[in-house]
């Protein structure tokens, strides 16, 4: 099917629109009077409807249509926004989401949505108890469509205006067939034949389609632009048999504003997409000034695999660039050198662009949380004020994909067990509304994500007791631990059993999973908490999994890369400064005893260089422990692309991977964690 090639785009865009609807609904909840927000929601819903109809997902399209009707009623101030309505709309968004997910998973997007549809319908009909002041109008049925009021849209009225400026006549022609007419459609056809000979039919009510299907009583009305006189037309039509009467009169186009309103009510009742399409256009005109504030985001979607291929190709280029540099330096040809230098600069820029392409704002993950928090706080009968800070912070796509679930877990935890119920809060002298903050920011080579609440905090004693009882730590160990070390115990795997939930302000459910996920991403998580004042869960993540900053060092003649994230600093120490403890060489580093690790021994580097009186050391850490790696020289800091050593050599001691340097050679990346016991 040709549809398949659009399916991915359809799913992505549907998700985006649903997200936009969700976001705007949350804003609307806070500002129920703001019609512009409703317009935004309407626009997303409308696009979604159109898309799903085009793709042939009828259920999706139908439900969206129902939702759109409600939104339209809100927009036209027939229904005012209140919690009941929002709940129903939220529910329908949930259903829509489920449908889209079903489609994404290869389903048909079918779903039983009777209940929601029913609720939406009753809102639309003003049946649901709302504070609505303006009664909902009766839907226009085929019968009164043919009544005196002709509803035309803006486009039609524009055409009418134009034609009268050109000296044409705008006639409103009402044709009534005889009650006993047998072939109504045939008569209509004949009438239209005549009308089209006289001029141009620009509008008909009921629509031509309905007329052809005989979906009308006995009369219909058309708008005709013609050079003929009204009488002439009447006479001509009267020649058709079985016509009861014909009346043609000059049609006065109503003022623009009125047309707009009428057309809106009309097209809201139309299912035909073509109709509603016009309405969307019209809407854009209506809210033209608001449209401008939405800056068009010009993006294309790229499969991440393609970026990987691009990256690999680029590395090839970098390698050849390195060779070219070498050659040009040897030849000392100035023009060649100049060109190579330029190429180096340009490819450097290109490199940073390619690397940046993989970066996406953390917003992609964050934007689903306000909705989740809303729902959760309702379920838990808590009042929560969620603020999101730094959603624009960028992270590598691979990290983004993984970080969502741990965050959901932590937010749930904070909501469920961190923040107290309103009455408890009040009794403690706090505001009944709990504060929850989700914050992301860059710091150095890392991104930090913090989840802070102003809830009850963690009770150190209880955690300690539980940890000792569960054999996670000994009593002595617990005594010597800092507060945050104790708090981090709740993320130990031995801690997450169900009965702890109530004991330790509930934290500890599956937090070990959270910790594992984050650590597998090369990040770490720490907890800070003040009893009675709240807790902060802080997650540190590498900017990306594929590019890391390293310090290149030389061990004898071999080059190794030490990840910058584990380096504290570099130093040069004199041989005399080295002390011995337990037969081990150590140095005094800022008052701490740090063991020396001779890389050339551990890595069994064939020795070639003579030792001098100084040692160059890289001081690395693993948690609170440190080690000083002895190298021969520092080459410098560099961003490198992380490559695996492959299955064949996996698990080599103290080596976490490899990278390709500018000269095309492979340098190994040291796993400093393995070097510290």
């Amino acid at each position: 099917m040709e549809i398949n090639q659009y399916l991915e785009v359809f799913i992505d865009e549907s998700k985006e629109h649903l997200q936009a609807i969700n976001d705007h609904l949350l804003v609307l909840e806070k500002n129920p009077q703001d019609i512009t927000i409703v317009n935004e929601i309407f626009r997303s819903a409308h696009t979604l409807k159109g898309m799903s109809a085009t793709m042939g997902y009828q259920d999706l399209s139908n439900l969206t249509h129902k939702m759109e009707n409600v939104l339209d009623a809100v927009r036209n101030e027939k229904v005012s926004v209140d919690e009941n309505i929002l709940d129903v709309v939220f529910d329908s968004v949930d259903d829509l989401e489920a449908m889209v997910i079903d489609i994404a998973e290869g389903g048909t997007g079918e779903r039983n949505v009777e209940k929601v549809v029913h609720l939406l319908q009753s809102i639309e009909n003003g049946e649901l108890p709302t504070t609505s002041t303006i009664p909902h109008e009766e839907p226009i049925d085929a019968h009164n469509m043919a009544s005196n009021e002709l509803q035309i849209d803006e486009f039609t009225s524009a055409v009418l205006e134009q034609s009268s400026e050109q000296g044409q006549n705008n006639f409103r022609v009402e044709v009534a067939l005889r009650e006993d007419c047998l072939l109504k459609a045939a008569r209509v056809y004949m009438v239209f034949e005549i009308l089209e000979q006289c001029g141009e039919v620009i509008h008909s009510q009921p629509t031509v389609e309905q007329l052809e299907n005989e979906e009308f009583e006995t009369s219909f009305t058309v708008l005709l632009i013609t050079g003929e006189s009204a009488e002439e037309i009447q006479n001509r039509i009267n020649k058709v048999s079985e016509i009861d009467h014909v009346q043609a009169g000059v049609f006065e186009a109503p003022s623009r504003l009125e047309t707009g309103r009428e057309a809106e009510t009309e097209s809201a009742e139309q299912t035909a997409i073509t109709k509603t399409e016009t309405k969307a256009d019209m809407q854009k005109q209506n809210s033209g000034e608001k449209e401008t504030k939405q800056v068009a985001n010009k993006t294309i979607r790229i499969n991440i695999d393609r970026l990987d291929v691009l990256m690999n190709l680029f590395e090839e280029l970098v390698i050849d660039r390195g060779r070219l540099e070498q050659i040009s330096n040897e030849l000392k040809h100035s023009e060649l050198q100049e060109t190579v230098e330029r190429m180096t600069r340009i490819s450097g820029d290109l490199q940073s662009i390619i690397l940046n392409m993989r970066m996406v704002p953390v917003e992609q993950v964050f934007n689903r949380f306000p909705r989740m928090v809303r729902q959760l706080s309702r379920d838990l009968n808590k009042k929560i004020d969620l603020s999101v800070v730094g959603a624009e912070t960028e992270l590598d796509r691979t990290v983004i994909d993984e970080i969502g679930d741990p965050l959901v877990h932590l937010l749930r935890n904070a909501l469920d067990h961190g923040i107290e119920s309103p009455d408890v809060r009040e009794s403690k002298g706090k505001s009944p509304t709990g504060k929850l903050e989700l914050k992301a920011y860059h710091s150095g080579n890392h991104v930090f994500i913090e989840i802070s609440d102003d809830g009850g905090g963690i009770n150190r004693d209880k955690v300690e007791q539980k940890a000792i009882a569960n054999n996670v730590v000994t009593e002595e160990q617990a005594y010597n631990m800092t507060d945050s070390q104790v708090f981090e115990l709740i993320m130990e795997s031995g801690f997450s059993t169900a009965d702890i939930i109530s004991d330790v302000s509930g934290r500890g459910v599956g937090l070990d999973v959270v910790k594992n996920t984050i650590e597998s991403l090369g990040g770490n998580i720490s907890i800070d908490s003040v009893p009675g004042e709240g807790s902060v869960f802080s997650i540190q993540l590498p900017l990306t999994l594929s590019i890391i900053s390293v310090m290149l060092v030389e061990v004898q003649k071999e080059k190794y890369a030490v990840p910058l994230s584990s380096i504290i600093e570099t130093a040069i120490v004199k041989k005399e400064e080295i002390m011995h403890a337990h037969n081990k060489k150590v140095i005094d580093f800022r008052g701490k005893v740090v063991p020396l690790v001779f890389l050339k021994d551990i890595l069994e580097v064939p020795e070639t260089l003579e030792e001098d009186d100084y040692y160059s050391v890289v001081i690395v850490r693993k948690g609170d422990k440190m080690a000083a790696l002895v190298v021969n020289s520092f080459i410098g800091q560099q961003e490198v692309v992380l490559k695996s050593l492959g299955d064949y050599l996996s698990g080599v001691f103290a080596i976490s991977g490899a990278t390709i340097l500018g000269d095309g050679q492979v340098a190994l990346i040291l796993d400093s964690n393995a070097l510290i016991k």
Partner: protein, 156 residues
């Protein structure tokens, strides 16, 4: 007609010391000239290290060392044959890559008890072609993962 029924095996022929070895052409990715190799510590001597093969870090095995044949310096003829076995991408250092041949499977014989200095377990069979004796290698055995790492790891 019987000519066509013969099972033909297309192989790459390469040389280590004085012997000629073959591997099926489907298993071969490419044949490269020798390039700078980065040593990987903590591996057996026959693992020469890794090299960058068009952006892919590829482990390199010295077949001489693997077969415990005395090592010589690389020459102009030295080649790296990259092979793919069970998803593993590995480069093999050989003294020279000579030929591509069609072997008639009926000429392949099971390995004799002892052939030169190479342990018999790597050998799938031998084929006689005119005056040449070709040794068919069992790459799965040559590349067995188990004995890649050195057992006595250094700890701090």
């Amino acid at each position: 007609m019987s000519e066509q029924d013969k099972q033909m095996l297309k192989v790459i022929v390469f040389q280590i010391k004085d012997e000629e070895y073959t591997i099926p052409v489907e298993q071969v990715g490419s044949i490269e000239r020798i390039m700078p190799i980065t040593r990987v510590p903590g591996t057996k001597p026959f693992v020469k290290g890794v090299l960058n093969l068009r952006g892919v870090v590829t482990p390199i095995i010295d077949l001489r060392e693997r077969f415990e044949i005395e090592s010589t310096d690389n020459t102009e003829q030295t080649r790296i044959i990259t092979v793919t076995i069970q998803g593993l991408n590995v480069g093999l250092i050989v003294d020279a890559a000579n030929d591509v041949l069609d072997l008639d499977e009926s000429t392949i014989e099971p390995p004799p008890e002892v052939i030169g200095t190479v342990e018999a377990e790597y050998i799938q069979g031998v084929a006689k072609l005119d005056q040449r004796l070709l040794i068919l290698l069992n790459l799965e055995k040559v590349l067995s993962k188990e004995d890649v790492h050195l057992l006595n790891k250094v700890h701090v």
